[in-house]
């Protein structure tokens, strides 16, 4: 629901704007966007009030017969004026009673966020009907319908508004376009130039500020203690307030992800989305209007991951599903945020609309691998490419990580991310000339018929130096105390140690690059590893 009281100039452009209150709302000075919980939590006052509501759910109960409501705070629709004086956050609510339409929790402030009035809003349509009628972003037209407001805090108590919304389209010369006066009569051709949404209070609230009939500007009194009418002309009012329904467009996502392998897959996706409703809006935005097959595949993978593990973090733009936990999660976060840019640059290749591949990195208690001879081995990490959905899955062993030094675990993460990058380069369509050269290098190792995999040979010949530099930078910037201790405050050169870490998981495979290295150099690297590794910390730095 939007309220937009805007004085418009008499112009033919009215014709184009007519019936698009979302546009009008924006043009009239309202910014509308979605904000995630990480942003919400920075608004201390709002976070405090939200927390209060969540910890005292009885505030939500008993409103119109509601006995069990769930408030979703992971994402909100944020509407504000340019100067920030007005701001509102609208949250989705689920578990509404049968037969009740979409419900939202609205936090609205007219003093720049110092205080909020809180309402439970009930819209006249179900979520499904909203999607069918208005799509994801509207415009929303509730003309002739009832929207119920249940005040949830002291500030909002003064007026419970049970209103009938009307879209007041432009009254411009030569352009009737369904425009109405607040009293419901059509715009005369010569009349004033307003473009706004309005609603009437059906129970109380007579005309104010010049409004005719029972109509007053939308939701005036909670702000102004009496309302400020716009009169027939509909000039902007200081009591103007805007909100807009917040719903989770599950149906839209389901439609975009079709076709499904079978009914069972579709049902599974629906079920997963229902239990992870907060991901639907970011997912819907990620998919856009015409998702690529790769976007669809990543979307499905993300939904399934959230279904199996509600703690999974999905970065749609980065194409990464992160299900790491504990120590490896902590070390991985530092790896992406600190040190040199090796990992950031590597992962940047997976970002963007044109990206073909996604990464799903996860912790597992133990990770096993069965070789071609049927021997099963426990390993620190493994990386697998699934061509059917272009997802590169990385598994990191939690039990191994917990028992190993932090730098060893960082080495494993780097190793597996490089495998992911190699899979990407091998499978990118269409390849660049560099990709083709890379594939030829990879294939040349296959031709040599060495025992190590071509990927390990390629990593050994092309990536070891980058890994060494990344490990060195990580140690110096993230594990500063450990680095200072080990290097005697930078007095000792640890380059051989970092190189040794980079060779872990490669030299034991007898890769060609290691075999060809002079023996004295190999000895120095091995010696540095034995000398320093046991003096480094197990722990992830805070």
């Amino acid at each position: 629901m939007i309220l937009s009281l805007t004085g418009c100039e008499k112009d033919d452009s009215f014709k184009e704007q007519a019936g698009d209150p979302q546009v009008n709302a924006i043009e009239s000075g309202f910014n509308i966007e979605y904000v995630e919980s990480s942003v919400l939590s920075k608004n201390a006052n709002l976070a405090k009030q939200l927390s209060k509501l969540l910890t005292t759910p009885e505030n939500l109960m008993g409103k119109g017969g509601r006995t069990e409501l769930t408030l979703h705070t992971q994402i909100a629709k944020y509407i504000s004026t340019e100067d920030g004086s007005y701001q509102s956050y609208t949250f989705h609510v689920s578990n509404t009673p049968d037969g009740v339409g979409l419900e939202n929790i609205l936090y609205a402030s007219s003093d720049g966020g110092k205080s909020y009035r809180i309402y439970l809003l009930e819209y006249p349509y179900t979520e499904e009907k909203m999607i069918n009628s208005f799509g994801l972003t509207g415009p929303f037209d509730f003309k002739g319908e009832h929207i119920t407001y249940y005040p949830l805090n002291e500030e909002a108590k003064t007026n419970s508004v049970d209103c009938i919304m009307q879209i007041m389209t432009q009254c411009g010369e030569g352009n009737h376009n369904g425009g109405y006066y607040p009293d419901g009569s059509p715009c005369p051709a010569h009349e004033a130039h307003s473009s706004y949404l309005d609603c009437s209070i059906s129970s109380s609230g007579g005309p104010s500020g010049g409004a005719t009939g029972p109509y007053v500007p939308f939701n005036p009194s909670p702000f102004n203690g009496g309302g400020t009418g716009t009169g027939g002309g509909g000039n902007p009012s200081p009591g103007t307030e805007a909100t807009s329904p917040m719903y989770l467009p599950m149906k839209s996502v389901i439609r975009k992800l079709a076709p499904y392998e079978d009914e069972a897959e579709e049902d599974h996706i629906k079920q997963c989305l229902s239990s992870n409703a907060n991901m639907t809006i970011p997912l819907d935005m990620f998919l856009g209007e015409n998702p690529t097959p790769e976007q669809e595949a990543f979307g499905k993978e993300a939904i399934k991951a959230k279904c199996e593990n509600s703690d999974a973090e999905v970065e749609f733009e980065d194409r990464i599903i992160n299900e790491l936990v504990g120590k490896e999660k902590c070390l991985d976060e530092h790896l992406k945020e600190s040190g040199n840019n090796f990992v950031q640059d590597l992962l940047a290749n997976f970002e963007g609309d044109d990206s073909e591949f996604g990464i799903n990195i996860k912790s597992k208690d133990q990770v096993f691998y069965t070789d071609e001879n049927g021997n099963t081995l426990e390993v620190s990490g493994k990386t697998k490419f699934t061509p059917t959905n272009n997802i590169i899955e990385i598994e990191i062993s939690t039990s191994k990580a917990n028992n190993r030094r932090a730098l060893q675990v960082v080495g494993t993460l780097l190793h597996e991310y490089i495998h992911a990058d190699i899979f990407r380069k091998l499978n990118t369509q269409p390849p660049s000339n560099d990709d083709l050269i890379f594939r030829n290098t990879y294939n040349s190792f296959e031709d040599n018929n060495f025992e190590p995999t071509p990927a390990h040979e390629t990593m050994a010949s092309l990536y070891v130096n980058s890994m060494k530099e990344a490990l060195k930078s990580y140690h110096m910037t993230v594990m500063t105390g450990d680095y200072n201790y080990l290097s005697n405050n930078g007095q000792l050169d640890l380059d051989n140690f970092y190189e040794a870490l980079a060779w872990q998981g490669l030299k034991n495979h007898n890769v060609e690059a290691w075999q060809n290295m002079p023996q004295n150099q190999k000895d120095e690297i091995d010696q540095a590893y034995q000398q320093y590794i046991f003096a480094t910390t197990h722990n992830c730095p805070n």
Binding site: V367, D371, T412, R439
Partner: protein, 167 residues
């Protein structure tokens, strides 16, 4: 006499044309209704076909690539329909899924050996006056929908084998 010479020349021409169909070539028919071909863009200049064998832990990818000025570009042949019929008669042309099923029990090393032994050759080229080589395969993909065309497009494929990687 003139007619006789013409007939001899014609026979030689036909023989030479068919000689281009080397015996170690493989033409795999893809039905885009049932087989998944990863096609980027609307042209057939770049596409890939994947086959995964979870039991033996390998992925096999066939690529057809054509990008400007690359030495690694793949050929695209336009073979007369009659030649395709002849290839089929000789057993060089078969359905891709049936062919893949024959590979099911190979481990990755046997898979590599199989393709090298039967279908590979080394292609020589010059780069800055230096002779270089890379491995190519006489493996082509043919779309089922193209089989009735007068000249059937045959896409040379590059091979990549990969597997689950561990540390």
């Amino acid at each position: 006499m003139k007619n006789c010479i013409s007939i001899i020349i014609f026979i030689l021409f036909v023989k030479c044309t068919f000689a281009q169909s080397v015996s170690n070539s493989l033409f795999l028919v893809v039905d885009r209704e049932n087989d998944t071909v990863f096609l980027k863009g609307k042209t057939t200049k770049n596409f890939r076909y994947n086959n995964s064998n979870e039991k033996m832990n390998w992925n096999l990818s066939f690529y057809h690539n054509h990008i400007p000025n690359s030495v690694y570009n793949n050929y695209k042949y336009l073979l007369p329909k009659e030649m395709i019929i002849e290839l089929k008669r000789k057993g060089n042309l078969e359905d891709i899924q049936l062919f893949m099923a024959k590979l099911n029990d190979f481990n990755i090393k046997e898979l590599g050996q199989f393709f090298s032994k039967h279908y590979s050759y080394y292609y020589e080229y010059l780069e800055k006056s230096r002779k270089k080589t890379f491995k190519r395969y006489n493996i082509f993909i043919v779309y089922k929908s193209d089989l009735d065309k007068t000249f059937v497009p045959c896409y040379e494929m590059s091979l990549l084998k990969s597997r689950i990687e561990v540390q």
